[in-house]
């Protein structure tokens, strides 16, 4: 169990993490979501005492800095390639293991577990990003900890690697471990996480189960298709629904349950070829929840000027 209370970090005039409090329960994978620059990594560093700030994080009731041999209790993966380029991967793990009373046998075990057994005596400077992430996970698992804190562990992994990581984390959670994992791959998080902590500009946006997040930050809509769909719109709006036209000409109805739409079609004598609901994805919920808190917003791609230029060229 991780209990974070009042986490706060300021860089001169910028508040990076603003009084965050949340719990991460054992037995489930808890995803940590937020746009770029929202303070996810800073929060994790604060939790581990790597950055100085305010607030307190307890790992099964203990502060990280008070834990003797912390790798046996809390496994961490924070940065993609924090390795000395000329020290072999195995020696990198041996070095960290030596501070935590972990033997060489366990080092070899975790190297095999993450699929790096054949390259364990190679230098990590030759590792791909995906291999480096696997080595990072091996590092996190060294002490067979009950708590894992992983910052973007799927970064750089190929689809097979992502699948492997997902299964691994779900398996570890099923053993009753506490898994706290940040990711920007929302579809991945939808498959992996049971609960979410969502932040934007360092402030808490949501803390709870994934389905609740999707429900809270999106609307489920009703889809209607039929030969007389366009003529059905006034009746729907008259009944208080909001109606929009979809890409393929379907009606996208919000503010009315599917049963009520069906009943209205029946009473209005409108023929329908489709009547269904559309649930929002985690990505849609995430965009809805964090849209106004994005720290770094890119300009829209300049499609219009390019077209005008092309048109101009054609006219000339």
């Amino acid at each position: 169990m991780i209990t974070a209370t009042g986490l706060y970090k300021r860089y001169r005039k910028t508040v990076a993490v603003d009084r965050l409090s949340f719990d991460v329960r054992p037995g489930v994978v808890t995803g940590f979501l937020g746009p770029n620059g929202s303070g996810k990594s800073t929060t994790m560093r604060l939790m581990l005492g790597l950055d100085h700030g305010e607030g307190q994080t307890l790992f099964d009731g203990e502060r990280f800095s008070d834990i003797r041999r912390p790798m046996n209790k809390v496994g961490t993966l924070l940065e993609a390639k924090p390795f000395h380029p000329t020290r072999t991967a195995r020696n990198h793990l041996r070095m960290l293991a030596s501070a935590n009373g972990v033997g060489d046998k366990r080092v070899d075990e975790v190297m095999e577990l993450v699929g790096l057994g054949t390259v364990k005596r190679k230098k990590p400077k030759g590792y791909s990003l995906g291999m480096a992430q696997r080595l990072g996970l091996a590092q996190a698992l060294l002490g067979d900890p009950r708590i894992l804190l992983l910052d973007e562990p799927t970064n750089g992994l190929d689809p097979h690697g992502i699948h492997w990581m997902r299964d691994m984390l779900k398996h570890l959670a099923s053993e009753g471990r506490t898994i706290f994992v940040s990711s920007h791959l929302l579809s991945e998080m939808q498959l992996m996480a049971d609960e979410l902590v969502v932040i934007g500009r360092g402030t808490m946006i949501f803390n709870g189960v994934v389905d609740q997040f999707v429900r809270d930050f999106t609307q489920s809509t009703v889809i209607v298709r039929g030969p007389e769909a366009a003529g059905f719109v006034p009746a729907l709006e008259g009944a208080g629904a909001e109606v929009a036209k979809g890409k393929d000409g379907e009606l996208v109805i919000s503010g009315m349950e599917i049963g009520a739409v069906g009943h209205l079609a029946f009473t209005e004598n409108v023929e329908l070829s489709e009547l269904s609901t559309r649930s929002a994805s985690l990505e849609e919920a995430f965009m809805s929840a964090t849209g106004s808190t994005e720290e770094f917003v890119a300009a829209e791609p300049p499609t219009a000027p390019a077209t005008e230029k092309a048109d101009g060229a054609d006219n000339a």
Binding site: L48, G49, D51, T88, A99
Partner: protein
């Protein structure tokens, strides 16, 4: 603390640079008595020449071994930041003071052992070329050799402190080379000029120059400069190292990793 010492020992011994820096330092120091032996083997040698050969030329301004061991000291802390390993290090060993203490102890012990081995090898080379090492365990040679041991140790600790202070390798390397070779020599040179004679009282507090006086067979005397003796000068160098290490230690505790 034992865990921290085990960590630092494993860190140091799993780095290739530890071996080649130590090897080059020892070989460079050994080259001095070997070259001297080929050039003038069998000629009578006094305590000053013997000291120069035993400390591998450090006494006349080329402290090969001290410089290479200082680089190992810089790497002990600077590498952690250069390669980002400070994060896994502090998640494996979050007690920062314990980590620094372990680094200081391990690097210091390795430096002392390597310096003793280097002196023993140089003594062996002298014995081969001259048949004996005259006055090895007698003053002033014995004190000068003890001073050399202290000098190398303090030099290395300055390197370790600078690596931690600058949180990287290049800046620390620049300071450790620039300060003794250029800055202190410029201050010493300027102090001889009448218009800059206000620098005279400063000279005896120049840290690296003071450290070099630990190796001297005869105390250096410059009229009006009132330089400290061997151990007083060594004290100046040691205080400088202590200031660097203390400042770095305090900042390490306060700064984000």
């Amino acid at each position: 603390m034992l865990d921290a010492l085990r960590y630092e020992w494993t860190r140091l011994t799993t780095l290739r640079s530890t071996y080649w820096l130590t090897g080059i330092g020892v070989l460079c120091a050994l080259a001095i008595p070997v070259i001297a032996g080929f050039a003038a083997g069998g000629d009578p040698i006094d305590a000053e020449i013997t000291a120069i050969m035993l400390n591998g030329g450090a006494a006349f301004g080329i402290p090969f071994l001290a410089v290479f061991m200082a680089i190992i000291g810089i790497f002990a802390t600077g590498h952690e930041y250069r390669h980002g390993t400070i994060q896994p290090t502090l998640t494996a060993l979050p007690q920062r003071s314990r980590l620094i203490m372990a680094k200081l102890l391990v690097v210091a012990v390795v430096t002392v052992v390597v310096t003793l081995v280097s002196m023993a090898l140089n003594a062996l080379a002298i014995a081969i070329f001259w048949g004996e090492v005259p006055g090895l365990f007698e003053d002033p040679l014995a004190s000068a050799l003890l001073g050399y041991l202290v000098y190398t140790l303090v030099y290395t600790l300055v390197g370790l402190g600078l690596g931690l202070l600058f949180r990287g390798v290049p800046s620390a390397l620049v300071v450790i080379f620039l300060m003794p070779l250029i800055i202190e020599n410029i201050i010493l040179g300027l102090s001889f000029l009448p218009m800059a004679d206000w620098l005279v009282p400063v000279v005896k507090f120049l840290p690296f120059s003071s450290g070099a006086r630990l190796l001297a067979i005869e105390p250096m005397v410059i009229p009006d400069y009132d330089l400290f003796g061997r151990w007083g000068s060594g004290g100046v160098f040691a205080v400088f190292a202590a200031l660097i290490v203390t400042a770095a230690w305090i900042l390490f505790k306060k700064r984000d990793a």
